[in-house]
């Protein structure tokens, strides 16, 4: 089994701010973390490897610091890491991002399965996974909540739906995006951490992946962010105080006023 996991480095949601002038994320001084959904994708990949054998390669497009999240993935059991980094990628939207990742996947070579998080907690579009699958011309399933069966030729999956779940079977090669209840990511191991410290991370530039300059970065991005703003708080919030019984009383009273 050859598995590729796409990982995005995102600002820690605990301290995200918008730059009021540019309407872009103020990334300076903000701690970067692995996109939480991607941690679950890494865990699922490592579990499949432990079950079926093979290797897991983690891939990220981003600035050179994206190495940190790749090393974290190695400490949790991934085998190889690739970072695609180039100034020319700056300003990429989901269209350009999925093009770039597809080019990088082709350089990495043969694979059975690509795993992505359902969405990135900063961009939040949930488009990169499906976009990447389309570019790689492989089937995909989004919002996978469980791998029921796994063999060297394919998987039986549960796809989370608003009202329950679908059960799907698919053959490799394929792409999945995963939701958080698919698994509980492991704590890094000591051996993993030591390996992560030493592991060589493969670095690819736009030229290395043979990217067409017109399809990457800002020039390759048909989407433009016109305005980013914090939504107005609309609802009226009431905080009840007092003992639990008093608070319950207040809640009942206030609900009754709507009847």
């Amino acid at each position: 089994m050859k598995i590729i996991v796409c990982i995005k480095q995102v600002p820690d949601a605990k301290d995200v701010r918008l730059d009021p002038k540019t309407n872009t994320l103020a990334r300076e001084g903000v701690q970067s973390i692995m996109n939480p959904y991607d941690q679950h994708a890494v865990e699922e990949a490592v579990r499949l490897k432990e079950l079926l054998g093979g290797e897991v390669t983690v891939l990220s497009m981003g600035p050179p610091q994206a190495e940190e999240v790749l090393r974290q993935a190695i400490s949790c059991g991934a085998d190889h890491a690739v970072v695609v980094s180039d100034r020319a990628f700056a300003g990429a939207d989901t269209w350009a991002t999925s093009y770039t990742l597809a080019k990088a996947v082709n350089v990495i070579g043969a694979f059975d399965l690509v795993l992505c998080g359902k969405q990135a907690i900063d961009g939040d579009t949930a488009q990169v996974g499906p976009g990447l699958a389309m570019r790689l011309q492989i089937p995909y399933v989004t919002c996978v909540q469980k791998v029921r069966e796994a063999t060297n030729s394919g998987l039986v999956l549960e796809r989370m739906m608003d009202d329950g779940y679908d059960v799907l079977a698919l053959d490799f090669p394929a792409l999945l995006t995963v939701v958080k209840n698919i698994n509980e990511p492991r704590v890094p191991s000591l051996k993993g951490k030591m390996r992560a410290k030493k592991v060589e991370i493969r670095k690819l530039t736009a030229a290395d992946i043979g990217a067409d300059p017109a399809f990457i970065g800002l020039p390759g991005s048909p989407t433009q962010v016109v305005k980013v703003f914090p939504p107005e708080a609309r609802c009226i919030r009431t905080v009840f105080t007092g003992s639990l019984d008093e608070q319950i009383g207040q809640l009942v009273d206030s609900l009754q006023s709507y009847l």
Binding site: R186, V187, P188, S189, L190, K191, G192, K193, K197
Partner: protein, 384 residues
């Protein structure tokens, strides 16, 4: 304070910290309430290679020293010393094999313990042999190619959960202290069983049971080291493991201080956070001072032990006494700082205070540790 840990030691701390924060702390109250053995958490620790820390690399471990294990246990202790004890007792159980076992024996048992596939336990104490270990009555008699064990061990941590038990038994009563030997008993050996779980004041996540031997037959090659060296191996084992108990004390005290200090900042009485009252501040300051002093001693002792493995008894006992007496005091004071809330089960310091007590009792009571230090002084000053 900066203790100049190596990069690898920082990694051990990070891993143990993450397990403590993400796995142990959210579950500790329930494990305590239900007397539940923390199998899933220990599994996570195994996967993170923590069981391999004290085991040499050639047997699949990390080849760590005393300070490495101290660092791991300190973090775990911050969450729950019941879980920490279950983990520590597995190391305690294999130290005799590490210290005195043959190469074959090490190859047979250590890799599975390093990977966490199997747990170990250490069986010395009996109903009539606590501090005075020489009073043990369990016997092992050679019959052809087998040892036959009879007797009952009491209060053995990981009893019923471990697969590997290192046990002390009398092999030649006429030889007194030189008549005891250590042997390995495995789960499932004929004639071996464990009693029910004891009901305890604290560390309720850990399992404590009797080990019962009724004509228990085990192969001859289960003898650890040479016949008659049992008590020497016991002493070396406990000297090696005591700093780990001290480390659980450091962690517990840190957890108690964290709770008490953050509570003191929030709790308002007489119109001020209670942290603003000097009496409360002084109590917290004393807790922090005692804790840091203990940490310095324990880390120092662990480094000494790593550098001078043949001269560890005194520092090992010193750090166990100091850090565990400190932990008891800090946990008690944490409850005091938190007042009635501290006494309630909803807050973790109530459990910490119940848990702390065991640290002054097991692996040799603090009175016995003072005897060890005193006897060493007696020797040193006779020489001088």
């Amino acid at each position: 304070m900066d203790y100049f840990l190596s990069e690898e030691q920082e990694m051990i701390v990070e891993i143990a910290r993450q397990i403590t924060d993400e796995r142990i702390i959210p579950q500790r109250a329930e494990l305590d309430e239900k007397d539940e053995f923390p199998r899933a958490i220990l599994g996570e620790m195994a996967r993170a290679d923590l069981f391999g820390v004290p085991i040499p690399e050639e047997f699949g471990g990390f080849g760590g020293g005393c300070l490495d294990i101290v660092l791991a246990l300190e973090q775990l202790g911050r969450g729950c010393i019941g879980v920490g004890t279950a983990f520590a007792a597995s190391s305690l159980g294999i130290y005799p094999i590490l210290i005195a076992g043959s190469q074959e024996m090490r190859e047979k048992y250590l890799p599975d313990v390093a990977s966490g596939k199997k747990f170990a336990a250490f069986g010395l104490t009996e109903a009539n042999a606590g501090s005075d270990a020489s009073g043990i009555q369990t016997t092992a008699v050679l019959d052809g190619d087998e040892w036959v064990l009879n007797g009952t061990k009491q209060w053995i941590t990981n009893g019923g959960e471990a697969q590997i038990y290192t046990v002390v038994a009398i092999t030649d009563r006429s030889k007194g202290a030189r008549g005891a030997s250590m042997l390995v008993v495995e789960e499932g050996d004929p004639g071996f069983s464990c009693g029910p779980k004891e009901k305890k004041m604290g560390i309720r996540a850990s399992s404590t049971t009797e080990l019962i031997f009724k004509d228990c037959r085990i192969p001859k090659d289960r003898l650890i080291g040479r016949k008659g060296t049992g008590f020497i191996t016991v002493m070396k084992t406990l000297d090696s493991s005591r700093p780990g108990i001290a480390a659980l004390g450091l962690g517990l005290a840190q957890g108690a201080l964290d709770e008490a200090a953050s509570y003191a900042k929030q709790r308002v009485q007489f119109g001020k956070p209670i942290m603003a009252f000097q009496a409360v501040q002084h109590m917290l300051a004393d807790m922090a001072i005692q804790l840091e002093a203990a940490r310095s001693l324990v880390y120092g002792a662990a480094r000494h032990i790593d550098a001078h493995p043949n001269n560890m008894s005194k520092v090992s006992s010193m750090c166990k006494v100091f850090a565990t007496d400190m932990a008891m005091k800090v946990a008690t004071d944490a409850v005091q700082v938190m007042g009635g809330y501290g006494y309630m089960r909803e807050y973790p310091v109530e459990k910490m205070m119940r848990d702390a007590k065991i640290l002054q009792i097991y692996e040799g009571t603090n009175q016995i540790q003072r005897n060890v230090v005193g006897q060493e002084l007696n020797k040193e000053y006779t020489r001088a």
